[in-house]
């Protein structure tokens, strides 16, 4: 590494690669997180704040329903024509002077970006917020290649400075308190004094970043919506760092998942309106960048070279199944995690994946395979809060149930096996459910079981798996409802 004296790089080097997280560790991390009263309180407070802000934007439930219906329709329409739209997007971007690259997996995506960076003798890349760049762990790949990738979104900057991963897709540093950030800046930002003033802290970050924007050879950004018909990349942000990243450096690389494309410009406003309201409770963000190509002859600013990297990374697998395809409707607003009682209790890091919360539980299995992730779809009580708030109406609970099934069974006839299909298969669990079905489809046997369980209720086991961790054991009643109803009928 040629930049050992750089604090950001040092912080980077300490980062644990979190891409592959053994399923068995989710429960341990969750248990630790749940026991951390401070973390729970701060997540609860932050989520309550976001929930209230979103709710204030949607005073009329009927209007919200029709907006969600429209947004869902646009996303479904776009996905139904995805292959065509992607080709159209490529054609139009190419005509606009943008170089389009396709990456099947994180390695390919990183290689494409590093190649471009090397060609420009890059020392520094400034990054706007991009979850896809987190997904491919670009910062690591850049560091390994001897180049610095610096996050310029304030939340991402904080998280990077501390060698962490984002704990939320919209608010990456939401797990950190003001005091933690104050201490972090004092320790890690060269020349920064200790301050607890939020304005001053932001000022410190800004000062560092300002200078970096000027010197970076490459700016990288994500994409919220890619418009096929016009070859326009839309970038939603609040801090202006996205605009800096996409206009100041000589080269702009945009990176996004293949599902982000819509056909027409007019498809953007309905999605944009729901995205900002669902995400941060804003009617509109400070910036909506619409980027259609590099600097043209005679223009005074903008990058001289522009690229788009389209990443698959498991999305095709979701796409190829009629039900699972709805996963790709997601516009990454984060509302499902804000409203998730599990996410609220354990925070984003416990999941161990780039995307935490309900959206992470349904998309990670496609990216990382069910062998590594089969526990994630089980980390839900299926309460339905996520599906209720999702602005594009992804039936998240149904998808969780489906993935639970895929993890425990062979592929259904006529369906291609998923990556890691059947990874959680267990002969014991199969036998339990088969026994359960045998009992519950045989009424006489079921009634006999009820009779025995009530007569021998004193023998009910005192330890009942996870139930008795914090509850007293369940005990059958003295007489089942079946028996009581039968007795009534005899009278």
């Amino acid at each position: 590494m040629n930049a050992q004296n750089n604090s950001q790089i040092n912080a980077q080097a300490n980062t644990q690669a979190l891409r592959f997280v053994p399923a068995s560790e989710f429960k341990e991390r969750a248990a630790v997180a749940v026991a951390d009263a401070h973390l729970r309180k701060s997540f609860r407070g932050a989520m309550d704040f976001l929930i209230a802000k979103r709710a204030a934007q949607f005073p009329d439930p009927v209007a919200l329903e029709s907006q969600r219906g429209l947004a869902e329709h646009i996303r479904k329409y776009s996905l139904a024509r995805l292959p065509d739209l992607l080709e159209q997007l490529e054609r139009n971007l190419t005509a606009n002077g943008v170089q389009v690259h396709w990456a099947e997996n994180p390695e390919q995506a990183n290689a494409i970006i590093i190649n471009i960076a090397r060609r420009h003798s890059t020392k520094l890349m400034v990054k706007g917020k991009s979850m896809v760049s987190e997904e491919i762990e670009l910062n690591h790949a850049m560091a390994d290649a001897g180049m610095e990738a610096l996050e310029s979104d304030m939340g991402e900057y904080i998280v990077q400075l501390d060698g962490e991963k984002p704990s939320h897709i919209i608010m990456p540093a939401i797990h950190k308190t003001k005091l933690e950030i104050a201490r972090l800046f004092a320790a890690k930002v060269p020349g920064a004094g200790y301050t607890e003033s939020v304005d001053e802290l932001i000022g410190i970050g800004r000062a560092v970043l300002r200078e970096k924007f000027m010197t970076a050879e490459i700016g990288l950004s994500g994409v919220n919506f890619a418009v096929a018909e016009t070859g326009t990349l839309c970038l939603v942000e609040n801090e202006g760092n996205g605009r800096m990243c996409t206009t100041v450096p000589g080269v702009h690389i945009a990176i996004t998942g293949i599902e982000k494309v819509v056909e027409k410009l007019e498809h953007v406003p309905p999605l944009f309106a729901l995205l900002t309201r669902s995400a941060t409770g804003q009617a509109i963000t400070t910036y909506l960048n619409m980027i259609s190509g590099p600097r043209k002859p005679g223009e005074k600013d903008g990058p001289r070279e522009m690229h788009l990297v389209l990443v698959d990374n498991g999305r095709t697998q979701a796409y190829s199944d009629e039900q699972l395809r709805s996963t790709l409707q997601c516009i990454r607003c984060g509302a499902c995690m804000n409203h998730c009682p599990v996410y609220t209790r354990i925070g984003g890091h416990a999941y161990g994946t780039t995307y935490p919360g309900p959206i992470g539980e349904i998309i990670s299995p496609h990216m990382l395979g069910l062998a590594a992730t089969h526990v994630l779809p089980t980390a839900s009580s299926l309460c339905g809060a996520c599906g209720e708030v999702c602005p594009v109406k992804i039936p998240i609970p149904d998808l969780l149930i489906r993935l639970r099934g895929e993890a425990q069974h062979d592929a259904r006839p006529g369906h291609a096996p998923m990556l890691g299909q059947g990874a959680a298969k267990s002969a014991l669990v199969d036998a339990i459910w088969s026994g359960w079905a045998a009992l519950y489809t045989r009424p006489a046997l079921y009634r006999a079981f009820g009779w025995l369980a009530t007569r021998f209720r004193a023998l009910t086991p005192p330890m009942q798996s996870g139930w008795t961790v914090s509850r007293t054991p369940l005990k059958p009643a003295k007489r089942t409802l079946h028996e009581q109803m039968a007795a009534r009928e005899r009278r």
């Binding site: 429960k27 969750a30 248990a31 749940v34 026991a35 729970r40 439930p61 329903e65 009682p341 599990v342 209790r345 354990i346 089980t378 980390a379 839900s380 009580s381 299926l382 309460c383 339905g384 809060a385 209720e388 149904d398 149930i401 489906r402 993935l403 639970r404 895929e406 993890a407 425990q408 069974h409 459910w433 359960w436 079905a437 009992l439 519950y440 489809t441 009424p443 009634r447 009820g450 369980a453 009530t454 798996s465 996870g466 139930w467 961790v469 914090s470 509850r471 007293t472 054991p473 369940l474 005990k475 059958p476 009643a477 007489r479 089942t480 409802l481 079946h482 009581q484 109803m485 039968a486």
Partner: protein, 260 residues
């Protein structure tokens, strides 16, 4: 969202079926009996098909579709007459009303059966309010209660609206609002067994919130949530306990003040 908002309600029928649910059958049969008493008091004859077992939800939510179908199919055939089917549990009612059609989506004949049954499924409080159109007369002492309307009950059956409207008919009953009322209590069926740490944290927060209302008891239209919360309280040594909505309504409105 109250998905029952646009539902067309039939006139009060002379006869109904009762689907008791497996949890009520084994663990809170008194809630089932009180359901029968409430319905009979309205002059409705209650039929309880003796071959009923479970709606199939545990296998469904665990990702065992084959077993779900077997058990669901066994229930679907038990209600041949065109009478309403009353389910004193929001999540089981939600399963039969909203999920049966999905479970049988790939078989047109079974789908038609499932859809026809789904049309006749009523969660108890919804039925009392909108079909039986009860007017309750309160015979109890003034009481403050809290109401827990679980996830499926709320999002699939609109129970928080119906139960509140029923309780509003009781002048002596003051229903306290608790913090994060719409949030899950952490039961989630097999979720409570698979993820005890998270489930316990959720249950703990829920009982704290319910208690903070200063209520004497909390009510739930779901036996699963109620058991989970009651047993959490018992483990803490806390005497605060919840009651099934059916039992509370019966006890409050029956002048003899209780069970026969």
């Amino acid at each position: 969202m109250d998905e029952t908002g646009n539902r067309h309600y039939p006139d009060k029928p002379p006869k109904v079926y009762l689907f008791g649910t497996c949890l009520i059958d084994m663990f809170c049969p008194e809630a089932g009996m009180d359901t029968v008493r409430l319905l009979e008091r309205e002059g409705i004859e209650v039929h309880f098909p003796a071959d009923q077992t479970c709606c199939g939800q545990p296998a469904h939510s665990s990702g065992f579709p084959e077993q779900t179908r077997a058990v669901a199919l066994a229930q679907m055939r038990l209600f041949p007459e065109p009478w309403p089917v009353i389910v004193p549990s929001g999540s089981c009612a939600g399963m039969m009303r909203h999920h049966y059609p999905k479970v049988f989506a790939d078989d047109p004949r079974l789908l038609a059966e499932a859809t026809a049954l789904a049309d006749r499924i009523f969660e108890l409080s919804e039925f009392l309010l909108h079909v039986a159109r009860v007017s309750l007369s309160d015979s109890g002492q003034p009481a403050r209660v809290a109401l827990h309307t679980s996830c499926a009950a709320r999002r699939e059956m609109g129970t928080q609206v119906h139960a509140r409207a029923l309780l509003a008919q009781l002048p002596g009953v003051d229903v306290g609002l608790h913090e994060h009322e719409s949030e899950c209590c952490g039961f989630g069926g097999t979720f409570s067994l698979k993820h005890p740490a998270i489930s316990s944290a959720m249950a703990g927060d829920k009982v704290d919130a319910l208690k903070e209302t200063g209520a004497e008891t909390f009510l739930s239209a779901d036996c699963g949530c109620m058991l989970s919360l009651n047993h959490t309280l018992q483990k803490r040594g806390d005497p605060f306990q919840g009651q099934h909505l059916a039992s509370f309504l019966w006890q409050r409105t029956n002048p003899e003040g209780g069970r026969r």
